[in-house]
Structures are given as structure tokens and as C-alpha cells.
């Protein structure tokens, strides 16, 4: 009896209040957190505990639905990860010949630089985007020279090939530093920087006996001139690197999303537990108070008669 009256306590009280305080006009609509039927600013004589339990109940509902969403996102990320992981694994051989041929020279001295940041298409995936952005900023500062360094940020669906074309055609550069997250395992990714040199720079460095001196010993077959072959080679390397880096990044994204969503699901269930406890406790308290009121009222009546 007591518990059922507590459950629909709000409606019962509002009925009482509308009799006791007819001032509660519709123009004085109380904010939702207040007991319905009370003028704003007025101290709530009773019913506050009911209202607060109502708030807690609403809160519980929203936490529950958020938990459902994060759980679903985790499942989706897990199943996507499986596909991307295989693809990434299979693509790992593709860029290696280029690094074997030309070496890896992130510290090569260049004037016109591009920092190419590979980020994800969507959010809610842990810290992977902030890592690449921070690292890109660091590299950007590191490369400061007379010519301004340019940023190119990739992170929207299906624009990869267009972007590659755009860069190769329209932007003058000596070297591109590609910043991405290399997939290491489901829970970890490694920020990495790949360097792609422009054909002119490759030719210059190999002829002048710079960092690419070993390239001079290679015979070059095909094309009309060495420059043409180097141009094709550099473009092919760029495409291969971009392909592999975006796959690695996509893989890291799914992994990071999976662990982020897992931890937020866990957080939500913890929160739900706390809220349930709070709700039950306040309900128990209101029932106890009501019982005491009834009993003491009955006792007072008995004493009077």
C-alpha cells in the first residue's frame, strides 16, 4: 500500500496541492526539476523526494539507453575490425620495397614541405585523432623553414584517390611527411611518420651523393628519361604509402573505437548501479517517512479520543 502510493505519489500530491494552492496558474509553469504544481521559488513542502526520485529514474533511463548505444557501437567496431585487420595485414608487404630501395629519411633537409595528416571519418574512437593531430603539429613546428609548410588533412569518406591526385598535380613540394596511426593490436596503435620525396629531390640527392647515394648504382629501365621514371616511381610510392597508411589508420580507428566503447559501456553500467542504489534508497526513505507519519497521526488521534 505504502509503496504503491509512493510510486504514484506525484499525482496524488499535485491533486492535493491544486486544492491547497490554487495560485499555481499555467503561466507559472514550474521547471521540470521542481515538484509539479509548485510556483517557482516556493519551498516545496512535500513531494521533493518524489520529484528527485523521478529525476533519478529519468537519469537511469537515459544512462541505460546510452549504454545500449555504446554496446552496439562496440559490436559494430569489432566486426568491422575483423575485416579491416585482414586487409591491413595483407597490404603490409606493398610499401616495403620502396623503403628498401630509397631508405627512410624523415630528417632530410627540405624547403617546401607538406604535412599530410590521416585522421578518421568519424568520432567516438578514443584518442587516435588527437594523437595524429598533436604529432602533425609537432612535425609542422619541426619543419619550419623559409617556405611555409602546408597541412593537408584527410578524414572524410571516399576522398582518398581524389586527394592523391590533387596533391600530385597542384601542390609543389619537396617532401611529404605522412602522419598516421600504425595498428599494433586491438588496444594499441603507434603514431608513425612516413616520408615521401618528390622526384626532383630524389634525383638531386642521388646525384649529389647525399642520403640517396646508393640509388646512383641502380640502372634505370623504361620511360624516355630517368626523370620520367623517377616521377612515376615517386607517384607510385606515394599511392602505395597512402593506401597502406590509410588502411593502418582505419584499422587503428576500429580498434580504438572498440576499446573506447567498451570502457564507456562499463562506465555506464557502473553509473547505472549507483543510480539504482540511490533510487532504491530514497524510495525506501520516503516509504519509511510516510509510515511514521501515518503511525504518529493514528497515535495522536488515539490519544485525543
Amino acid at each position: 500500500m505504502a509503496s504503491s502510493s509512493a510510486r504514484n505519489g506525484v499525482s496524488r500530491l499535485s491533486h492535493l496541492l491544486s486544492k491547497a494552492a490554487p495560485v499555481a496558474a499555467p503561466s507559472l509553469q514550474s521547471p521540470s526539476w521542481q515538484c509539479p504544481g509548485l510556483a517557482p521559488g516556493e519551498l516545496a513542502p512535500f513531494g521533493t523526494r518524489m520529484a528527485s526520485s523521478q529525476i533519478v529514474r529519468n537519469r537511469m533511463k537515459s544512462v541505460k539507453s546510452i549504454q545500449k548505444i555504446t554496446k552496439a557501437m562496440k559490436m559494430v567496431a569489432a566486426s568491422k575490425l575483423r575485416g579491416v585487420q585482414t586487409k591491413t595485414e595483407n597490404s603490409r608487404g606493398f610499401w616495403q620495397p620502396f623503403v628498401a630501395l630509397m631508405g627512410d629519411h624523415p630528417d632530410i633537409d627540405t624547403k617546401k614541405n607538406i604535412v599530410l595528416t590521416i585522421s578518421s571519418d568519424r568520432g567516438l574512437c578514443g584518442g587516435i585523432n588527437s594523437t595524429v593531430v598533436k604529432l602533425s603539429k609537432g612535425i609542422f613546428k619541426l619543419l619550419e623553414s623559409e617556405e611555409p609548410t602546408k597541412y593537408i588533412v584527410i578524414g572524410e569518406k571516399g576522398k582518398m584517390s581524389m586527394i592523391a591526385d590533387e596533391i600530385l598535380k597542384n601542390v609543389e613540394f619537396e617532401a611529404i611527411r605522412m602522419v598516421y596511426n600504425k595498428f599494433a593490436s586491438v588496444v594499441s596503435f603507434i603514431p608513425a611518420v612516413a616520408t615521401i620525396m618528390a622526384p626532383e629531390l630524389i634525383a638531386k640527392e642521388s646525384e649529389a651523393g647525399g642520403k640517396l647515394a646508393q640509388l646512383e648504382s641502380y640502372e634505370i629501365e623504361g620511360g624516355d628519361s630517368k626523370a620520367e621514371v623517377l616521377q612515376n616511381l615517386s607517384e607510385f610510392q606515394f599511392a602505395a604509402m597512402l593506401f597502406s597508411a590509410s588502411l593502418e589508420n582505419a584499422c587503428s580507428e576500429q580498434g580504438a573505437r572498440m576499446s573506447a566503447m567498451d570502457s564507456s559501456t562499463r562506465n555506464a553500467s557502473e553509473m547505472l548501479e549507483k543510480l539504482t542504489q540511490k533510487y532504491n534508497r530514497s524510495r525506501q526513505a520516503s516509504i519509511t517517512t510516510e509510515l511514521i507519519e501515518i503511525i504518529s497521526g493514528a497515535a495522536a488521534l488515539e490519544a485525543a479520543s
Binding site: F94, P106, L135, K137, K182, Y218
Partner: protein
């Protein structure tokens, strides 16, 4: 207590194969390919950041240049979605360079060769495997390692001659109706690939 131990052990047993299955090639202990000045400057501009890794640190180690001429050629044949041959030791490969078919034997002079659509064959004793490749690059390194990177490749026996003929006719039609430069180039590439494929199949 005992039950908990049993569960823990069972869990560990379940986890073990998963860890072994994990394909992630952990970065080997390769030092970063940068000068100390670069490292110092990075620390200066980004003191709170972890120093990034570089592709050469994730790479499979390559063999050193041997003193004597090796008897076998080590071939890496890679596609964007697959590693077809991974450091396989063979006798000879023949690749379709733009300057003509090029045979590569152990001890070949270091070369960078651009490839056109055509047949690549891998000779291993008396066994010959033929692939149709769609163009890319081949590198021969001084240590008798040949890297062949191509955009796409298939064994020769999976092609259907009828489909190839149909494709060639389609691209011929496209070439005659093409209006922009990009369309023309696309049709040209299509014709090149299909006619190379036809002649590889011995049909043209």
C-alpha cells in the same frame, strides 16, 4: 579458491592461441632513421609527445650483400591486397619491363624497371609459374633480392578469353567516343591491358 584457479588457468589457455594468432608485426628494436639533431629538435618543439616511429622500423629486415654470388634469387612479389611471394628463393624471374621482357638472375646488376601490362614468369627448377601483371615497378637490389610491386596480378589460367575479347571491344568503342583527356587516357589504358592480355593468352 581452487575453482577460481581452474577458471584462471582455463582463461589463460583460451588467451594463449589468440596472442599467438595476433599478426601485428611488433616494431623490432631498430633505431629510428634520424639524426640526433632531429631528435633534439623534436623534443624541443614537442616536449610532451612520444617520439613517432618510422616505416623502416616496421620493415622486415633485408639480407646483407653477400661476398660471393648467390645461387638463388630472392623474390618479393607484392600486391596492394596480398603478398604473393614472400622472400621466395627461385632461379629466375622474367618481368615485362617497358623496354621489353627482362630476365633477372641471381647477381643481376641493381636496376629499377618500370613494368607494363604483360606476363611475369617465375622459374623454379623446371617449374614455371606465369602471372599476368597490370603494370608497376620491379627493383633488383645488389643483394640479389628482387622486389616486384604491381597493382594487380593473376595466374594466367584464370582468364576467360571471351571476356577479354569483349573488354577489348568495349574499350575500343570508348576510345572512339571519348571526349576529355582523362577519358581518352582511361580508354587507352584499357586497350593496352586487354591487348597485352590477349597476346599473352596467345589469341591475337
Amino acid at each position: 579458491m581452487l575453482r577460481r584457479q581452474v577458471i584462471a588457468r582455463a582463461r589463460a589457455a583460451c588467451r594463449a592461441p589468440a596472442a599467438a594468432r595476433s599478426f601485428s608485426d611488433k616494431p623490432l628494436d631498430v633505431p629510428p632513421p634520424v639524426s640526433d639533431a632531429f631528435k633534439d629538435k623534436f623534443k624541443q618543439v614537442a616536449p610532451n609527445l612520444q617520439f613517432p616511429k618510422f616505416p623502416s622500423q616496421f620493415m622486415k629486415p633485408r639480407p646483407a650483400v653477400p661476398g660471393t654470388l648467390p645461387t638463388k634469387l630472392t623474390v618479393n612479389f607484392v600486391l596492394p591486397y596480398k603478398t604473393e611471394l614472400d622472400a621466395k628463393e627461385v632461379d629466375m624471374i622474367i618481368v615485362p619491363a617497358t623496354t621489353g621482357q627482362m630476365g633477372i638472375l641471381p647477381g643481376h646488376v641493381p636496376t629499377i624497371a618500370e613494368l607494363k601490362p604483360g606476363i611475369m614468369s617465375v622459374h623454379e627448377g623446371s617449374e614455371v609459374t606465369q602471372y599476368f601483371v597490370s603494370g608497376g615497378f620491379a627493383f633488383v637490389h645488389p643483394n640479389s633480392v628482387a622486389d616486384v610491386t604491381v597493382v594487380d596480378a593473376y595466374p594466367l589460367d584464370v582468364f576467360d578469353p571471351e571476356e577479354v575479347r569483349k573488354g577489348l571491344a568495349e574499350f575500343n568503342a570508348k576510345s572512339s567516343t571519348a571526349s576529355t583527356d582523362a577519358e581518352k587516357a582511361e580508354a587507352q589504358i584499357g586497350i593496352q591491358v586487354h591487348s597485352a592480355l590477349l597476346s599473352s593468352l596467345g589469341l591475337s
